[in-house]
């Protein structure tokens, strides 16, 4: 298949599907004459108004900052911890069962605890995002270390390099692709959680925008607009972490 063909094949069908979905949505709303559920055009104009008066950008920024802090902290904790647990069997056998047990608990279940500990300010969502993204990143990093191909460790032992060279030149680069996978998972969950956390008791963020639009006079045009914006931003965040996979030093993991 030629390059242009494959590009067309990748762009056209998804665009058509989305266009079809919008058309169906429009037709159904127009026919049913629903007083509450908006048409696509009402969603666009609603979002436009919010963008004009600046509140939309404030909400987006609030959500992104929370994710940035919570995810950043989780990253700083998870990577060293994961490397340690992967390398030292004692640490693995001691901590892994605990983390495996904490991991399947939905971050939403932590909301009451978060409110009790951190109140209803900015700290609660940051804590929830931290909790949500730290475990996948720990697990992924740990697994990455434990599955380093033995031949590479043998080669390092064969050349008798120092411990610091072993870590900088072999262990860390060997695990880096797994760390990036962990980051993708962690950031994805973080974005899911921020919206849920903001629905509880805040006055900014996209999650708050959804709840506030519903409560303040059933503005479902803004509810739908927020949902679409959340989806688009989530896509962009994932795309940004995927760019890391293009780094020359991790490409070996994704080719062949």
């Amino acid at each position: 298949m030629r390059e242009t063909d494959s590009k067309l094949a990748r762009v056209v069908p998804p665009v058509l599907v989305i266009a079809l979905l919008i058309a169906v949505w429009w037709a159904v709303v127009a026919r049913s004459d629903s007083p509450i559920f908006p048409t696509p055009w009402q969603v666009v104009t609603g979002a436009w108004d919010l963008a004009q008066d600046g509140t939309l950008w404030d909400h987006i920024q609030a959500s992104l900052v929370r994710v940035g802090i919570g995810f950043g902290l989780a990253f700083l904790v998870a990577v060293p911890l994961g490397l340690w647990m992967g390398w030292v069997p004692g640490a693995y056998y001691t901590l892994n069962p605990l983390f495996q047990m904490l991991r399947p608990i939905s971050p939403i279940a932590w909301i009451p605890v978060a409110i009790l500990w951190f109140g209803v300010g900015n700290l609660s969502p940051v804590f929830l995002i931290f909790i949500a993204s730290v475990f996948p990143m720990i697990v992924q990093t740990t697994v990455g270390v434990r599955t380093i191909d033995r031949r590479y460790l043998r080669a390092a032992a064969n050349f008798g390099v120092s411990r610091s060279v072993l870590f900088r030149r072999v262990v860390f680069p060997a695990v880096l692709p797994e760390i990036i996978v962990g980051m993708r998972i962690g950031l994805g969950v973080a974005w899911l959680v921020v919206v849920a956390a903001e629905m509880i008791a805040l006055n900014s963020g996209l999650g708050y925008l959804i709840m506030d639009s519903r409560n303040a006079g059933n503005r479902y045009d803004l509810v739908i607009a927020s949902m679409i914006i959340i989806g688009v931003i989530g896509l962009l965040l994932d795309g940004a972490t995927r760019l890391l996979e293009q780094m020359k030093t991790v490409k070996w993991r994704y080719v062949r």
Partner: protein
């Protein structure tokens, strides 16, 4: 240069995995600068034996001595080149060689790395990553990375068997050329009898599991050897007969 008569002394090595006895008491010596090939049926424990000799695995009984000193683990003194290869895919060709040199006290490491990349015919590919290279080129990187630290011994465990037949032949010729330039003691494990005849000074034939040394052949032919040589053909027949073919 060592005053000890033998570079490598393998003395009564035995190894079992659970109830399965894999290596059943292997003893032989390798002289300094000698090229010894070990051939044996597949699954006979060749690789286990090699891993023990190179220091990566422990034997249940017996000892390995290098220059008369008992060996306890892997060392830069003897570098292993294996079938799957262990060139680091996250480092460039040049970085792989610099990695190997990082533990050594060689002067001007840059120049050394450069010289060995040239020796294996990879000049111009210093900045390439392994996944951008062909299988044959990757083997050359591995050989360069091994030689750059000036090991006294090369352990080669089926080094070329993952390559296609033509590339395998080419690499054998290359290896012979390099070994004529640099003196090394080489221990080669292979299932390819012709490869052993082409390269080695002495060929040991292993028995099926639990493996012991069944016979030993001296290869008294000058390099470069031709496999069409009647002596080579005769030797090949004899070895294959030992292997039960």
């Amino acid at each position: 240069m060592s005053t000890h008569p033998h570079k490598i002394t393998v003395d009564g090595i035995g190894k079992s995995f659970g109830d399965l006895s894999v290596v059943g008491g292997v003893s032989f010596d390798v002289r300094d600068g000698e090229f010894v090939a070990i051939v044996g049926p597949s699954g006979c424990g060749k690789s286990t034996l090699m891993n023990i000799i190179a220091g990566f695995e422990r034997a249940d009984r017996g000892t390995i001595r290098i220059d008369g000193v008992e060996r306890s683990g892997p060392s830069r003194n003897g570098i292993m080149i294996s079938q799957q290869g262990s060139v680091f895919p996250w480092l460039t060709v040049h970085e792989n060689l610099m990695f190997a040199l990082s533990g050594t006290r060689h002067g001007d490491k840059e120049a050394r790395a450069h010289r060995y990349i040239e020796l294996v015919g990879l000049a111009g590919f210093e900045k390439a990553y392994p996944h951008e290279l062909s299988g044959g080129m990757l083997k050359r990187v591995e050989i360069a990375r091994a030689l750059v630290v000036k090991p006294e011994i090369l352990y080669m465990d089926e080094p070329f068997s993952a390559l296609d037949a033509l590339m395998s032949l080419r690499m054998q010729t290359e290896l012979r050329r390099i070994l004529d330039e640099e003196r090394h003691t080489v221990l080669l494990i292979t299932h390819d009898v012709e490869e052993a005849i082409f390269l080695a000074d002495r060929i040991l034939v292993l028995s099926p599991r639990p493996t012991v040394i069944q016979t030993s052949f001296q290869v008294d032919m000058p390099h470069p050897r031709k496999l069409s040589d009647p002596r080579a053909q005769e030797l090949r027949e004899a070895i294959l007969k030992e292997l039960g073919l």
